[in-house]
């Protein structure tokens, strides 16, 4: 037997102490038993040893407690804000639904939110009494809905009803709870999620809210009250022929040479069409940061040809034939439509094969709309959880 030097040895993929201090915050990664031990928590809170290496600067870099910022997706509203035309039909997620959505997303990020005993935090939240409208401090025991002891990550889902009870929207309450939690600085990483509570509007007529998303429930009918997201007019198919300017709650649309123009405002029942005030069959509405426009009125104003196939629930937009593209002053390729006569086919921006542009819409029937709204709520909550997972990565936690 001889001494055999190891000629190559890969650097281990776990950090030295020095590397850890400069790259990650791990002081919250503590055994689950410790989290239930007040004395240990007190010591860890007072002296986060993992962070304490060479002085106060190191302590500042690695706090023992982290409360994630609020990830805002969905207004979390449960009250009407758009005037008398619409009444509110809140679509809320159950706790069980919310947990499923959140944990499904966090599981993808490598967390197991059923690992370890859930912790309870006592916080004081400023609320407004719904009856007296007076602000008051409310002591709340917050038992986190999920916890992963391996990473020291916990989350709490606040339902929209929680917001209602405290006289504010879900997002407002979530912000207050988040701040109160940060003030208490519990050990580990905490996140607050809230019910996005996308609201749908009654009284819009048979076509209801349109979403330029395929695969959704088709409209039972298409008509004057069909709404379509403003963004639809800026798709690559339409973007070069229709100019859209959004200023706050006002949307101005015009064709490429400015000869046709429509100006609409959220909640206003009239629009300025080619310089003249016209009554709209349904006003533009805004929710979840998107302004929806009455499609038929806008299309007519801009001479956009369209057809509706009722059995399939498909809307076909007809656009001018693409003839070429040139570089603009910034060197960016842009489209130009020379032929002002709308044809029956849609062309792609690349000028290749002709395609029809079709969309499906959600019908305005209560069942279908609520199903859509629930899917929308889950989507928005999923985005909150997705952003939290991304944030955890930026913190070096996962």
């Amino acid at each position: 037997m001889k001494v055999k030097p190891v000629l190559r040895y890969r650097s281990p993929r776990y950090p030295t102490r020095e590397q850890l201090e400069s790259q990650a915050r791990l002081s919250h990664v503590i055994p689950s038993r410790w989290k239930e031990n007040a004395a240990l928590i007190a010591i860890l809170t007072a002296a986060p040893a993992l962070a304490r290496s060479d002085g106060p600067e190191a302590v500042k870099k690695t706090p023992d407690s982290l409360v994630a910022p609020l990830f805002q997706h969905g207004a979390g509203e449960t009250r009407g804000v758009y005037g008398t035309t619409f009444s509110i039909l809140p679509v809320l997620l159950s706790e069980e639904d919310a947990r499923q959505v959140i944990e499904e997303q966090l599981t993808k990020a490598g967390l197991n939110m059923s690992r370890g005993k859930k912790s309870t935090h006592h916080i004081s939240v400023m609320t407004v009494d719904p009856k007296t409208k007076q602000p008051s401090a409310k002591n709340v025991s917050l038992t986190m809905d999920g916890y992963d002891s391996k990473y020291g990550v916990a989350y709490e889902f606040l339902s929209a009803n929680d917001g209602k009870e405290t006289g504010g929207s879900g997002i407002e309450l979530a912000g207050k709870v988040r701040d109160a939690l940060a003030k208490e600085a519990p050990v580990g990483i905490q996140a607050i999620f809230y019910d996005p509570a996308p609201t749908v509007y009654e009284g819009m007529g048979p076509a209801g809210i349109g979403r330029a998303m395929s695969g959704m429930t088709p409209c039972e009918d298409f008509g004057e009250t069909t709404l379509i997201p403003t963004g639809f007019f800026t798709t690559p198919f339409l973007g070069s022929s229709i100019r859209v300017v959004v200023e706050g709650r006002r949307v101005t649309l015009s064709n490429s040479d400015g000869s046709k123009q429509a100006e609409l405002s959220v909640g206003r029942e009239t629009a300025v069409i080619n310089g003249k005030t016209s009554k709209l069959p349904i006003p533009a509405v805004e929710y979840d940061g998107v302004i929806y426009l009455p499609f038929q009125a806008v299309a007519n104003a801009l001479d956009v040809a369209f057809s509706w196939d009722n059995p399939s629930g498909q809307l076909t937009i007809s656009l001018p034939v693409y003839e070429g593209r040139v570089k603009n002053a910034d060197g960016v390729f842009e489209q130009r439509f020379e032929d002002r006569d709308f044809k029956s086919l849609v062309t792609t921006p690349t000028g290749g094969e002709n395609k029809k542009l079709t969309f499906a819409f959600v019908a305005w029937d209560d069942k279908a709309t609520r199903a859509w709204a629930k899917a929308e709520a889950r989507r928005l909550l999923r985005l909150q959880a997705r952003d939290f997972a991304a944030w955890l990565k930026t913190q070096g936690v996962i």
Partner: protein, 381 residues
């Protein structure tokens, strides 16, 4: 400063891998013990390390001279009263004479007890036998119980030989299941390790890595020296080289006759001159000690190109001397062992870190972990 007092050379066992098999050095006298304590006080004075001197009782079997041990503690206590010098104590014993009186006695109850135990009965009785050749495993059953009852943090020292390597993982698990949480393992490097034995060793370390990870996932608190020292050698670069006896600079051994040696392995009967670095009465032969230290720390040409040398025990002169008879000649079996244990340990640590194992993070990256762990245990009592 750690003072290892070989209070006797005598032993009541005849373990065949013992490096002091002759046991002919006799007992240490109280006068030599006092001179040794005075020597340690003198050595630490003004060094900045005088907070507390560690006194280890070693042998032979130190419990053969319980009275001297008690007298040593009382003497140190008087030094504390007189000069303010603090001491802490440890004993390494085969456990045969360990009893409740020693564990709870007024002079001896604060001595940390490290028990030599080789694990399963099969492994233990292979080597750890009495003068008549009888295994001592059964005797330690009761000893283990009272030891862990009185001193839950007692370390256990396990020696692995080619004859017991197949029982290595089982022995560690046995000791863990008995309640030991500080498991110190070493190989009998002086034995004849064949390639087959080394393959078996690798297999055992893999099994131990699986066990270690499972226990860490269960948040079990424990220390397993082969893995924990290697993990530390990466997390705290340089710790491998300076965390041990440092060849007489951190720890010095005193033979029963008062002669000084840089490691317990050189003591024998206290008659060897080659590695003797002084005497408790006449003091340290600093020139000789420095020369031996330099010889031990000289770069090892055989390891010059090794990518793992900073995390390796090749610089441990005692191990090298034990096998090759020279401080500077690296023992091939030490090299083979290091090449076996290092990658297994690193893969284990990578998994634990990737999974953000909380105990792994705390144990290896938190300076306060020993205190926090102790506090947790205290609060549970």
């Amino acid at each position: 400063m750690h003072l290892t007092l070989h209070v006797t050379s005598r032993c009541n066992l005849r373990c065949d891998y013992c490096y002091d098999a002759r046991h002919q050095g006799g007992d240490m006298t109280p006068e030599t013990m006092r001179a040794a304590v005075a020597f340690a006080c003198e050595q630490t004075r003004g060094t900045g390390h005088e907070d507390s001197i560690g006194v280890s009782f070693y042998g032979g079997e130190p419990l053969l001279v319980k009275d001297l041990i008690a007298e040593t503690v009382r003497h140190c206590r008087s030094v504390t009263d007189r000069a303010g010098q603090l001491f802490h104590f440890k004993i390494t014993t085969n456990g045969i004479l360990l009893d409740e009186d020693f564990l709870t006695g007024p002079d001896t109850r604060n001595i940390l007890v490290a028990l030599s135990h080789d694990g399963t009965q099969k492994a233990h009785d292979t080597h750890r036998v009495d003068p008549a050749g009888n295994g001592t495993f059964q005797h330690l059953d009761h000893v283990t119980k009272i030891l862990l009852r009185e001193k839950r943090y007692s370390p256990v020292m396990l020696t692995v030989t080619p004859a017991t390597v197949d029982d290595y993982a089982a022995s560690v698990r046995y000791l863990f299941n008995r309640g030991f949480r500080y498991i110190i393992c070493t190989l009998d490097f002086s034995a004849n390790w064949t390639p087959l034995n080394l393959r078996a060793l690798k297999h055992q370390y893999r099994r131990l890595a699986t066990w270690y990870e499972k226990e860490m996932d269960k948040e079990s608190k424990f220390y397993f020296s082969p893995f924990d020292t290697k993990i530390s050698s990466h997390i705290n670069p340089g710790s491998c080289r300076h965390g041990r006896c440092d060849f007489g600079r951190r720890q010095i051994s005193v033979a029963p006759n008062g002669r000084l040696y840089p490691c317990v392995q050189f003591v024998g009967d206290g008659e060897d001159d080659t590695y003797c670095v002084g005497d408790v009465r006449r003091g340290l032969d600093t020139d000789k000690h420095a020369a031996l230290y330099a010889e031990n720390h000289a770069a090892k040409p055989a390891c010059a190109d090794c990518a793992a040398r900073d995390r390796c025990n090749h610089f441990c002169g005692c191990l090298n001397w034990q096998v090759t008879g020279s401080l500077g000649a690296v023992a091939p079996v030490v090299c083979a062992h290091e090449r076996t244990v290092l990658p297994i340990t690193d893969k284990l640590a990578e998994r634990l870190f990737r999974h953000r194992n909380s105990l792994f993070i705390q144990k290896h990256y938190n300076d306060d972990y020993p205190f926090l762990s102790l506090l947790e245990d205290s609060l549970q009592e």
